[in-house]
């Protein structure tokens, strides 16, 4: 901040406090009146004699009390310098300054920017005591955050849809359905955690100071809650469990198509962020996600039930593929600065605001056009048109992106709505198949 900007900001405060180190070694403080005169900060004479032979610190702070709550509008400016006497006070020779205004740097961002200081302090405390002092969360919250468990709805929707299409074709095995879901969830957990591991190693998450509950990773590594090595172990366990169950299903069904789909799914999920491919860094994140959570997972669930592949589940998978890719796509919008900083060239990094916004609308509407086209073409049963009830959500998300493109925290509600768009559409498609089976 330039000195004129500093003075401009200081002029918004009502009062300030001058402090210096007294001769007894204690800090001395006095409130002081001040005014900004041209390019100078002037302090009026105070009842306590202000020193001119040492550094003073001047702080201006502001809050707005909110009865029954506490306060808001937190901001402060702290200035170091020396005082030069003049007729009725002092001119401040500003040497340096520091401050925070939650209107400019929202509290969550301020916290993220301070992670290194927290780590430094806890490391020092650990060194002093000879035992590791680290931040703690309950096992429940740690697991939920580290694995980003709520995002498993993506797996749930795809597998339910694949099973529903198989059911429509007269095939259903409850045990296989259960194993399919556990295998898919395990791979999904492996993927989520691997994503954090590789984004942690590349520095993408560390460079992102504006994470939200939908974007910027789980933050458990950056916050020192789960060490990188444990995240690697969790990810590997997810992949091992998922792969073992997948092999079991291949053996039970004898479906080589299922083996091919499983291998493709694991390959895409690992190399989504893992070097050397790092597909998401090449602008292929959306395509990879669409393939993984769309055709691969829906066809995989279908193949487990029927032992073969078919066009109908492929068509049914396209809308959820597009909508899951759009979750990633919208979630990448607030991550743009951090991603760009480490060369993670996602589509929102590559494209203009207008292009990103319009591409969302076109892609989301295309998902519903596929449903209509699928019904007309006979690939989807008529009741799946019930999924069109989710169309209004498209426009709510579109409007939110337009309004809050550059405001990560305000965009959070839109990101949540976008997750709903995928979930609701997927579940309505599932419901459409159930209706079709029933009638």
């Amino acid at each position: 901040m330039s000195e004129s900007a500093l003075l401009q900001q200081l002029s918004t405060y009502t009062h300030l406090v001058v402090s210096w180190i007294g001769d007894d070694g204690y800090p001395v403080q006095t409130p002081a009146n001040f005014h900004i005169d041209g390019e100078n900060l002037r302090i009026r004479r105070t009842g306590l004699v202000l020193p001119t032979d040492r550094t003073v610190n001047i702080i201006a702070s502001h809050i707005r009390p909110q009865p029954g709550y506490g306060y808001d509008q937190r901001r402060y400016l702290s200035v170091w310098g020396t005082l030069a006497p003049e007729a009725d006070g002092f001119i401040v020779n500003v040497q340096r300054h520091w401050g925070w205004d939650e209107e400019i740097t929202p509290f969550p961002e301020y916290v993220e920017r301070s992670n290194p200081q927290a780590k430094h302090y806890l490391d020092e405390l650990s060194r002093e005591r000879g035992v590791e002092i680290k931040p703690r969360l309950s096992a429940f919250w740690t697991f939920l955050l580290a694995t980003r468990l709520p995002f498993l709805t993506a797996t749930l929707v795809s597998i339910l849809l694949g099973i529903a299409v198989a059911g429509y074709d007269g095939q259903f095995n409850l045990w296989f359905a259960f194993v399919t879901f556990v295998a898919g969830a395990a791979i999904h957990i492996g993927l989520n955690v691997a994503n954090d591991v590789f984004d942690g190693l590349s520095g993408a998450d560390e460079a992102n100071f504006r994470p939200t509950q939908y974007s910027g990773g789980s933050r458990v590594i950056q916050r020192g809650i789960v060490p990188l090595s444990r995240m690697v172990a969790i990810s590997a366990t997810g992949y091992l469990v998922g792969s073992a169950l997948g092999i079991y299903l291949v053996i039970e069904t004898g479906s080589w198509e299922l083996l091919a789909l499983g291998l493709a799914g694991v390959f895409l999920s690992v190399f989504y962020t893992a070097p050397p491919l790092r597909l998401v860094h090449r602008g292929l994140g959306e395509l990879t996600t669409a393939l993984g959570f769309g055709p691969i997972m829906v066809l995989g669930a279908y193949a487990v039930q029927t032992g073969e592949l078919a066009w109908e589940p492929f068509v049914a998978s396209i809308p959820v593929a597009i909508l899951i890719a759009l979750i990633l796509y919208v979630n990448e919008i607030p991550d743009r600065p951090g991603d760009a900083a480490v060369g993670k060239r996602t589509l929102p990094v590559r494209w203009s605001r207008e292009a990103v916004t319009q591409a969302f609308l076109i892609a989301a509407l295309a998902a519903f056009a596929v449903i209509v086209g699928g019904v007309i073409g006979g690939a989807l049963p008529l009741p799946t048109l019930i999924a069109l009830l989710a169309v209004p959500l498209v426009f709510q998300v579109y409007s939110g992106i337009q309004k809050f493109y550059n405001s990560p925290y305000e965009l959070m509600a839109t990101m949540g709505k976008n997750v709903q768009l995928h979930l609701v559409t997927g579940l309505l498609l599932f419901a459409g198949y159930l209706i079709a089976v029933a009638v």
């Binding site: 001395v28 409130p31 702080i59 170091w80 200081q117 931040p135």
Partner: protein, 160 residues
């Protein structure tokens, strides 16, 4: 019963924000806005490890001062004060020890319960240390006018 004059204890009771001045590694003052919590004898503040430079400074030099100067943050009390004292950091377990002063904190900022219930969202914000300040000397401006001569009292005067 505290030796601190009533006009100052009233400010300590009411203030939603104060200015804590500590001494940095270069021997200069550095000031941070913090909520002052007052139990009738000692002043308490808490600091997240996220914003822990002040804690490092206090560990190196425990001499501090606390100013209460914003009438808006003091329920419109006109007075102003500054309290010099000695600080110590209490952080046996940064995860839980600070909760000792939660009742005092809650009294001034009821919303803290809401934030504590969502501590999973800001885990490092709730790894905290207590700054306990023993007052040694107070100066206060009853009329709140900085240009007037402040009154002063100290523990030495009381004990003598």
């Amino acid at each position: 019963m505290s030796w601190i004059p009533a006009p100052v204890t009233e400010l300590l009771d009411k203030a939603l924000v104060s200015e804590l001045t500590v001494i940095n590694y270069k021997g200069e003052p550095t000031t941070h806005p913090l909520i002052p919590l007052w139990d009738g004898e000692l002043i308490y503040m808490t600091s997240a490890v996220l914003f822990s430079r002040k804690l490092e400074f206090i560990k190196q030099n425990p001499r501090v001062a606390v100013a209460i100067t914003d009438p808006v943050a003091c329920d419109s009390l006109p007075g102003r004060c500054s309290i010099r004292g000695d600080a110590r950091i209490i952080e046996d377990d940064p995860h839980t020890t600070w909760e000792q002063v939660l009742p005092l904190w809650r009294a001034k900022e009821p919303a803290i319960d809401l934030f504590v219930s969502k501590r999973f969202a800001f885990p490092l914000f709730f790894e905290r240390s207590i700054i306990e300040i023993t007052p040694r000397k107070v100066t206060w401006w009853e009329d709140g006018r900085p240009e007037s001569e402040p009154r002063a009292a100290s523990t030495e005067e009381v004990s003598s």
